[in-house]
């Protein structure tokens, strides 16, 4: 691995959760040997259904969750070293969450946390400098200071709040933005404005974005590379055009085919096997997708497939071995 190229490198990260009661404990690999890297000024998408472990990865990167095994390297330094200078790490890695209505304390004015951030990181000396500083970042997302000044979250719209939460993350001039489902709670008509914002910030501020989503349409539109996760494993990873226009893994194919078209005359056809209980699928031997896969063979249920490189795309499926 060339250490200098990647901004953030995730190497064989595993997260084990223990579920169940006192006597019947089961260990579930919520994230299993996941490796990927994000380059500077790259938008990297982590896609998959709910409960596939994509948010767990975000939490591990942000330090909210301990990884069980593996290594995370940010700017060529292990995340264990960053722990000692947590404030500096936070300054460089910022986060945007799913529900903008819940991102701000309902009892505090929205600009509260903006001031808190700029003073905390010693970005400005006093209020006189703070206001233009905050205003500048808000302008970058299409808001202004007067729009949020002494307003409470309940007085702003979801789109405004989500853009404000992105602006707040940009205050510290981060090099990586971890965006966990940033558009799934935003009105459909505003989604593109948020996604476009990511693309523009990447151009203007050299910002890398880890875009976590289940929405393949916006992922295709905005990202450079994509990793599709299923039950704790990356099943397919590569350039976004290659992966989504020409999906190789049966799960990616299923996801791609599930994108509804805005065409009422085209009926959705094909039958889908309904997912098993999440826990069952996690504990399954062999390929975790075998229970739902229409192409599953005997070896899929027994052997865990290895990653194979097919035309620049990493695929974890027996059909390509």
């Amino acid at each position: 691995m060339t250490a200098t190229e990647e901004l953030l490198q995730i190497e064989r990260v595993t997260k084990v959760f223990t579920v169940g009661s006192f006597f019947f404990k089961t260990r579930i690999n919520a994230v299993e040997n996941v490796s990927f890297g994000i380059k500077p000024a790259e938008i990297f998408t982590l896609a998959g259904e709910s409960g596939c472990g994509k948010s767990t990865i975000a939490k591990i990167i942000l330090g909210f969750e301990e990884k069980t095994a593996g290594e995370i390297v940010f700017e060529n330094e292990s995340i264990a070293h960053w722990r000692e200078k947590r404030q500096l790490f936070i300054q460089k890695v910022q986060a945007v969450f799913q529900n903008p209505f819940e991102s701000f304390n309902p009892l505090c004015a929205v600009d509260d946390i903006f001031f808190e951030t700029v003073y905390n990181f010693h970005l400005v000396q006093n209020e006189k400098e703070a206001i233009p500083f905050i205003d500048e970042r808000l302008k970058a997302v299409g808001l202004s200071f007067s729009e949020i000044h002494s307003r409470y979250p309940s007085e702003l719209s979801g789109g405004q709040l989500q853009r404000a939460s992105i602006a707040r993350a940009l205050l510290t001039n981060p090099s990586l933005l971890v965006a966990d489902e940033p558009v799934s709670m935003v009105d459909a008509s505003l989604r593109m404005s948020i996604v476009n914002l990511f693309a523009r910030l990447r151009e203007e501020m050299n910002l890398s974005v880890l875009y976590i989503t289940h929405d393949l349409a916006t992922a295709y539109y905005v990202s450079d590379r994509i990793a599709v996760m299923f039950r704790g494993n990356i099943v397919e990873m590569g350039p976004v055009e290659e992966v989504l226009l020409n999906p190789r893994h049966p799960y990616t194919q299923l996801l791609r085919d599930s994108i509804p078209e805005a065409n009422p005359h085209r009926k959705w056809k094909g039958s889908v096997r309904v997912a098993n209980v999440e826990e069952e699928e996690y504990l399954q031997k062999g390929c975790k997708f075998a229970g739902r896969c229409s192409l599953a063979e005997e070896r899929c249920r027994v052997d865990f497939p290895q990653e194979t490189l097919v035309d620049g795309v990493l695929v974890r499926c027996h059909r390509y071995n």
């Binding site: 529900n99 009892l107 905390n120």
Partner: protein, 334 residues
Amino acid sequence: MSFVKKCLVPRLIQYFLVTFLGLTTAFFLPRFLPLDPVEQRIAQYQAFGVYIPPEQLEEIMNTLRQLYGLQGTLWEQYGIFWRRLFMGDFGPSLARYPTPVIQLIVQSIPWTIGLLLLTTLFAWVVAILMGGVAGYFRNRWTEILDGIVMVMRPIPYYIMALLCLIVFAYIFPIFPLSGGVGIGREVSFGFDTIVSIVKHGALPALTLLVVGIAWQFQSMKLIVQGVRSESYVWYARAGGVRERKIIFHYVIRNAMLPMITQLGLQLGTIFSGALVTEMVFAYPGVGWILYDAVMKGDYNLIMGIMCISVVAVTTSILFLDLVYPIFDPRVRYR
């Protein structure tokens, strides 16, 4: 201006309406009791062995009715009730004729308020601090604390009160068994009197504190646990907001809101006394005289206590409504 129009006026109208209905209930309810104070009084005489000839009975009953102000129709009485109420007069106590009701209440209300106000406020503050800490930090000590409370909470109050009484007043006679102050002592502001009051109040206060802290601790702990995992707390943490600020400005502050409501409602109920506490410890509070009044069919006294209680509850709710916007900007009127 819009504050007065949109917030104050409707609240006040509601306040007066509810108070009026409550006071009306306070007037009618004792009169639906299956007890007749006149008959009670006569039964009392007969219990002493007084022989009343049947031809005189009717006459005595009429005299008593007149004396008690129970003559006339219900509506006439109701009219008199309102006229008297505005002068702060609830009429004479029927069981302890002719002591005015208001005098009985004034005598016992300081005991009740002294005991309940102090324990309610103290329990609230302690429960919030302990519950906040126990909800935010999960470690061995808070688990132990939680375990103790879980064992304490389901014990019925009267059993715990009796246990305290047996242990701390009988087996180890540290505190007096009953009363609000030493027998025969003049209630004045001397040092000895205050020591005596504190000593007598200690056990009732202790039991009330244990119960009050236990259940409020549990609710505060659960609320904090809920708030702690709210998205905005994580967002603040991801944004580098300091942990101190997160604890006080994000978690405790948000968790306080339901607790403030709880406190406001509790303060209103203080004026009706703590019946079981006052019974077990023979504490001379409002609860005690209310119990006495119900047993003796003392209409006026029941009514008097109910009226004060109704006004106290509605007033504390009005107060709560008016100060709540200070704590919660979402209900602020602009």
